[in-house]
């Protein structure tokens, strides 16, 4: 499986009469995009805004962040099973608009979504203060149920990102990276001396708007399965969640998974990157046991030497993480787990809800309970109406001077568990 990823560098975004990309500038017609969003019956209105790195802008409540892409050659389309058919993606040629993102915002439930600051201390914690953000704030039709509102905003975000990606179809990429992975037999023959390593990605699937989709399938309904790691670059996995936004994977992070990226960088040099296993984090104990059993079984079937496991979220998924780690280690396969910590504001409490001696190689994305003060910014895209209710805030969060006293938990991507954020520890 070989994918050429062409990068179209975007240096600026402006609103214009006609949507197009010219000399690295993305011109966006609000009218054209509005028509796309209004395909969803549940959405009453949408407003678009642009937030640039360094501007005094706070975006909240943030639902998802999406990188626009387009499939130029090869089977399928971007975001298969969502806004494209269900062909297997991950081969041929794909173009990505780099340096920008579509951010979907609006109070779906209010307490689950995140915050992106484009400047100040908050900007240091979110990777999305570095992207030019086209923000869409969707208002639902009166009486729309939260889960229908979530679905409408999710799908419109993908449609808008796919439409913007489409503008790049005839362009020449500024740079191209080629990702190639072989089938098992070929890779074992090709790299006989290298350790066989796979990536086990745990997907948030707790329901009640904490969901992730694989080729359009709700991840809580999957048995663990195998992907070529290039499939995620075409949007095979997308986000339907953002609760405690610091350690959830927006769609952008699925498209640009750091573990996949880094394993590819070492593929054929220090290791043989065999593939990607996706599993879930469900709310029934039997599901947790079944999924971790199946994950360990797949690792054994692949004849692996090592596995990197990334978690999404915290709390009871810590048990899924530890079960995966223990069971894979029990197959004689070395594991490294990537998680984050809820160790209290002073960092002195137990970091994870579960533990085991097999988890002896752990990478942290930071302590989500750490308290930060985010100064008042000049402009808010979305609304501050829910800021005191968002996970990681409290009744005293919004202070008299307009600043926010919040835990890192509220900041989109701050303690990301695929290594996409900036925090860690030695």
């Amino acid at each position: 499986m070989k994918l050429e990823l062409g990068k179209i560098l975007i240096h600026d975004i402006c609103f214009a009469e006609k949507s197009e990309i010219r000399d690295g500038v993305l011109y966006v017609s609000k009218e054209e995009l509005e028509k796309i969003v209004m395909q969803e019956e549940g959405i009453q209105s949408v407003s678009f805004d642009i937030a640039k790195p360094g501007e005094s802008v706070r975006i909240t409540p943030v639902k998802d962040v999406i990188e626009p892409r387009v499939k130029v050659e090869g089977p399928g389309g971007i975001f298969p099973g969502m806004v494209a058919g269900v062909e297997t993606v991950g081969s041929g040629k794909t173009y990505a608009l780099k340096g920008m993102a579509v951010v979907t915002a609006g109070p779906i439930v209010g307490f689950q979504e995140g915050v992106i600051d484009m400047t100040g201390p908050g900007a240091e914690y979110t990777p999305f203060s570095k992207t030019l953000n086209l923000v869409m704030v969707c208002t639902p039709v009166p009486g729309l149920e939260a889960h229908d509102y979530e679905s409408a905003v999710r799908l419109s975000g993908f449609r808008v990102a796919a439409a913007l990606g489409e503008l790049a179809r005839e362009l020449q990429p500024d740079e191209t990276v080629v990702y190639e992975c072989s089938d098992l037999k070929e890779s074992f023959e090709k790299y006989p001396g290298l350790p066989r390593v796979a990536y086990v990605q745990m997907l948030q699937s707790q329901g009640l708007l904490h969901d992730t989709y694989v080729y359009g399938v709700d991840a809580k309904k999957i048995l663990p399965t195998l992907l070529y790691p290039t499939e995620v670059m075409d949007g095979a996995i997308v986000s339907g969640n953002c609760v405690s936004a610091c350690d959830k994977n927006p769609t952008y992070i699925h498209e640009n998974n750091s573990v996949v990226e880094d394993l590819f960088a070492q593929h054929g040099k220090t290791l043989n990157f065999v593939g990607q296993i996706v599993t879930n984090e469900n709310v029934y104990l039997a599901d947790k046991e079944r999924s971790s059993n199946q994950t360990a079984k797949l690792c054994r079937m692949l004849g692996l030497d090592g596995v990197i496991v990334s978690q999404e979220g915290f709390g009871n998924p810590d048990t899924d993480l530890i079960m995966n780690c223990k069971k894979i280690e029990a197959e004689g396969i070395k594991t490294v787990i990537i998680t984050d910590e809820y160790a209290g504001r002073d960092g002195k409490s137990q970091s994870l809800a579960d533990a085991d001696v097999a988890a002896d190689a752990v990478v942290t994305g930071g302590n989500a309970n750490e308290l930060v003060i985010l100064p008042k910014l000049d402009k808010v895209i979305g609304t501050l109406a829910y800021i005191n209710k968002i996970a990681g805030a409290n009744a005293e969060t919004l202070r008299e001077d307009g600043s926010l006293a919040v835990e890192l938990q509220v900041i989109t991507g701050a303690t990301n568990e695929t290594g996409f954020g900036r925090l860690s520890a030695r």
Binding site: L208, V283, Y284, L285, D318, T319, A353, D354, A355
Partner: protein, 77 residues
Amino acid sequence: MVKEIERAGIPVVHMCTVTPISMTVGANRIIPAIAIPHPLGNPALTPADEKKLRRRLVEKALKALTTEVDGQTIFKD
């Protein structure tokens, strides 16, 4: 909480969905519950069936409370 109450000499039954966490934190009498969002109920059942389920869980917990245990025990049935 389980450990502190037991330290005061009162036996405790911990009803929880993720029993491995209960084991990790050191509960002695553990009853597996239904699911994390609804440990002692099941919205998929009819109200009448759900009431039966809830009664069964409480009775099981009371039985566990009066059962002598030799170390950490998960009461599966």
